[in-house]
């Protein structure tokens, strides 16, 4: 069609609007491709890693050595392997957890370098990078020089955190390593645990585990610790992370596409209005409706296609760096990177689908007019909207009236601006809110609740009174009614110095009562004086616990009860305990310990992990800045477009340059403000919803908050974005000549 020749010209005339749409689509497809390809790859890589390197079904620590392993393997149709491990202190605050090399379960995957041949060591790449260790370097372990043979990943340490209760890993302070069984024997230190994997059908793993536990009990073997793979945070965090990304990866691009739809809808409607006469003429000349629709749909579709292609390609380019970024946290071998064709196709079609529909809707609306109406320029001209009519602005200042009228002139435009600002605000504050919440959580946990510096857990039950520290015990339980809901019960001293709990009103709770933490109470729906039926995971027996109080804290799904009661319930000797809390370092032989945790370790880990969070806050802030800039700039340019004649007239009437800027450019101020004000609570609400679903399987509630300081910083950023786009738009206003109003001949 000859008229198609004008498409390019028309687009060039309203460059910024079409470019804005294009950029939004690019961002949307980029994010869509990046996130979806990333998560598919992560899922594929982890699952093939777990399969090929035989991830355990469970691991446990027993108080005695199992010496009939082959017998057990055939009896329970499983493979079982003993792994030895030791936490080697490289320096004061740097721990390398060394494992003996497994050959049956949790086999180390070599990422780079070679297998062990003896007198050498495999370490995890993040630790190596953080500590500037290269393959071929030597590390001295207990006086023995071990050469780094290569870098490896372990299927049970995908997310290498030191303690299971850690949330963040810190390769600067913690790493994992593998040495041969022989070398381990030579060192002759540390403790051991067992890892097992069932052969055959996985459906009744729970049952088989219960049977196995029963057997151990019958053999008088006490299980000190039992962890199923689906409760092991070193593995489950990956799934959580992928779930989290998946949520973002669907909502964010779709929302941006919706914004784009509104925008192209507005731009097209404006163009159609200008071309009503042309359309009417084309009709009169015998063009069919279908041909005209086709012509006008070329605009949104060509943008959608171009944006889709560019965005998808850019997104594909980000996949590799993003994967590299992810494996800094999740230690998995990246053997191959694949592109899921499904997501490539969706990424290309999604914008076409969205913009096609909104474009068709708009064009169809225009074509409802008869050719005669169109040739007269549409019949809408005389209509005054209900709001315009009803609004009484008499008491306002003139400039305020002008701005209000300007926003009412095009409701879709204002809606677009509002949604755009809300979205940019949410994106901008997302990072800040995460950081605030994390800070809050840490403060709640490590300043207000847990007052100890050191936590020692022994590898066997202890008896009598310790020389130092405060005794406690801990044991894992599940709900009787739901074996998937697990939590820990602590036995602690009455009047504990190290666990400080408050109720909702802020009153101290004395620890001679049974106290449940709020996250757990919420999860189980427990009120004070309720009794819950539980099953101990170590002995699989049933118990009932009556709760006295609920403690207002966010970390930990725990029940605290007096140690005496705890021992009594589990039929442990009345003076027994498994761990010590202390504010100072205690002199305890490492061979009797299962783990040492210090709060300082944790805080330091937190500080260094805040670093990447900061950079991702930065990246998100940047994306939101770009989106905000596009939205505000495009709206401003729309306002200027629609007001060309008014601007020209204002100039003629003697308005000074600054006065024109102020009337026209500031007319969106309060929409921007409202958008920001709405964005903050909306973000908190949606973050809460998101964390609720993500942390369901974690042992803490995420208290979503945002500090006022960040709200303020966010406002400054949005405000500066607004100022910048206003500044950029000034030239457009300056370019409008006074002749424009003079030339315009309106009916």
């Amino acid at each position: 069609m000859v008229i198609n020749k004008k498409i390019k010209r028309t687009m060039m005339e309203s460059k910024s609007q079409y470019l804005g749409s294009l950029m939004l689509i690019i961002i949307s497809c980029l994010l869509y491709t990046m996130f979806n390809q990333l998560t598919t790859n992560m899922v594929n890589l982890t699952s093939s890693f777990e399969k090929n390197y035989v991830q355990e079904d469970a691991s446990f620590i027993a108080d005695k050595k199992l010496d009939n392993i082959e017998d057990l393997e055939s009896r329970f149709n499983m493979i079982i392997e003993e792994t030895r491990s030791i936490d080697y202190l490289v320096s004061e605050d740097k721990t390398l957890r060394i494992f003996s090399e497994n050959t049956k379960v949790n086999i180390p995957a070599i990422i780079e370098g070679n297998k062990l041949i003896g007198s050498d060591i495999l370490i995890d790449p993040a630790f190596a990078k953080a500590n500037k260790l290269k393959i071929g370097d030597s590390i001295n372990i207990y006086g023995k020089d071990l050469k780094i043979a290569g870098f490896m990943s372990l299927p049970n340490y995908i997310y290498p955190i030191k303690s299971e209760s850690d949330i963040l890993n810190d390769p600067n302070r913690f790493g994992i390593a593998v040495i041969s069984k022989d070398d381990f024997n030579e060192i002759n230190k540390g403790s051991s645990f067992y890892t097992l994997k069932f052969n055959g059908d996985k459906k009744d793993v729970d049952n088989r585990i219960a049977q196995f536990k029963d057997y151990l009990k019958s053999e008088n073997i006490i299980i000190l610790k039992w962890t199923n793979i689906d409760e092991n945070p070193r593995v489950t965090y990956v799934t959580l992370k992928i779930d989290g990304i998946n949520q973002i990866s669907t909502y964010m691009p779709v929302f941006i596409l919706l914004l784009t739809c509104i925008l192209t809808g507005i731009v097209m409607w404006r163009m159609l209005k200008r071309e009503f006469i042309l359309i009417g003429t084309l009709y009169a000349l015998g063009y069919k409706k279908r041909e005209i629709v086709k012509h006008y749909l070329t605009y949104p579709l060509s943008i959608a296609l171009a944006g889709g292609i560019i965005g998808t390609i850019l997104g594909a380019f980000t996949l590799r760096p993003m994967l590299n970024f992810m494996v800094m946290y999740f230690n998995i071998p990246v053997d191959y990177v694949s592109f899921d064709l499904k997501y490539v196709v969706i990424s290309l079609l999604l914008p076409i689908f969205f913009l096609g529909i909104s474009g068709y809707f708009v064009v169809n609306r225009a074509l409802k007019y008869s050719p005669v109406e169109l040739m007269k320029g549409g019949k809408e001209k005389g209509k005054v909207s209900f709001i315009e009519r009803k609004l009484k602005l008499d008491r306002l200042k003139f400039s305020t009236k002008f701005k209000v009228r300007e926003q009412l002139r095009s409701i879709p435009r204002s809606v677009f601006l509002l949604l755009g600002v809300v979205f940019a605000t949410m994106l901008l504050l997302l990072g800040f809110a995460s950081k605030s919440s994390m800070d809050f959580l840490m403060k709640d946990a490590y300043e207000d609740t847990y007052k100890y510096q050191y936590q020692y857990i022994f590898n066997s039950l202890q008896h009598g009174a310790p020389s130092n520290g405060e005794v406690f015990s801990i044991s894992p339980f599940t709900l009787k009614s739901d074996s998937k809901t697990g939590f820990y019960v602590y036995g602690i001293s009455p009047n504990s110095k190290y666990i400080l709990l408050k109720d909702k009103q802020g009153n101290w709770l004395s620890t001679d009562k049974v106290i449940i933490t709020k996250p757990l109470a919420d999860k189980l729906g427990v009120k004070p004086h309720d009794t819950i039926k539980v099953v101990n995971k170590l002995d699989s027996k049933e118990y009932s616990i009556t709760v006295d109080y609920i403690a207002e804290t966010y970390t930990g799904e725990y029940i605290y009860m007096p140690l005496v009661e705890f021992n009594d319930m589990l039929k442990y000797p009345s003076d027994s305990y498994i761990g010590l809390w202390s504010s100072d370092k205690l002199n305890i032989s490492e061979s009797s310990l299962l783990s040492i945790t210090t709060i300082d370790d944790f805080k330091k880990a937190l500080d260094s992990t805040m670093q990447p969070l900061k950079s991702s806050i930065g990246i998100m802030a940047f994306i939101s800045f770009i989106i905000g800039l596009i939205v505000i700039y495009v709206v401003t340019s729309l306002i200027i477009e629609e007001n060309r004649e008014s601007i020209s007239l204002l100039k003629i009437l003697g308005y000074r340059r600054k006065e024109v800027y102020s009337l026209i450019l500031n007319s969106s101020s309060f929409i921007v403000l409202i958008g920001y004000i709405l964005g903050v609570p909306l973000l908190l609400v949606s973050l809460r919803a998101m964390f609720k679903s993500v942390t369901k399987s974690m042992n803490f509630a995420f208290p979503v908050t945002i500090e006022y300081g960040y709200v303020f910083i966010g406002f400054v950023v949005i405000y500066l974005t607004y100022e910048l786009s206003k500044f950029l738009s000034r030239r457009k206003i300056n370019r409008i000549s006074m002749a424009e109003a003079l030339k315009a001949s309106r009916e």
């Binding site: 005389g382 315009e388 009236k401 003629i652 009437l653 003697g654 006074m738 003079l742």
Partner: protein, 232 residues
Amino acid sequence: MFIKVENLKKSYRTGDVKTDVLKGVKMSLGKGEIGVILGPSGSGKSTLLNIIGGIDRCDSGKVTVDDIEVTNLTDDQLTDYRRENIGFIFQFYNLIPNLTVGENIEVVSNISRSPLDTDEVLKAVGMLDKKYRFPRELSGGEQQRVSIARAVVKNPKLLLCDEPTGALDFSTSREILKLLQQINRDFGTTILMITHNTAISAMANRVYRMRSGEIVEEIINERIIHAERIEW
């Protein structure tokens, strides 16, 4: 003389073609008078009026209005000159479509030093009852009344009208002309008006005939008639 134009020249260049639009225009108009510029379309009337009003610039020559040398002013000074001295009325009214009648008047009173009362002015042009209407709800004649109200609300020294009745029918046109004459009498506002309707020149003190960029005749009209009696 209130307006004095001397040897005013202006040409446009489109591609290689140079068109002389004003070829040395000379004219003058006294304070409180009504001047009417007649001439065929394309003869340069609007260009002349725009230069006097400070919305266009000349190539050479001199324009003074009330002792202000308009041709010497910078852009910013021109803005202030228009703001303080000039009221404009256009053929196509040029009202701001999304503002009510009252608000359209305020566009000007908002930046005037001592504006007249909006309601008074609206009453004077007979539009007070339509204060809350939008331009698109008004007839052409009504819109032109609003545009006149907007021009006079700041009580300008000079009212420039470019074919104010060009888009109106006879009787509406006469109402508009009556209104302009009344403003001229009540406020002593000097009015310079473009028209290609010769009949209108009967209400002017001075009549200028333009042809291809030159004023070929300047007539002083001794027998001014009331706009009421103009017929065509």
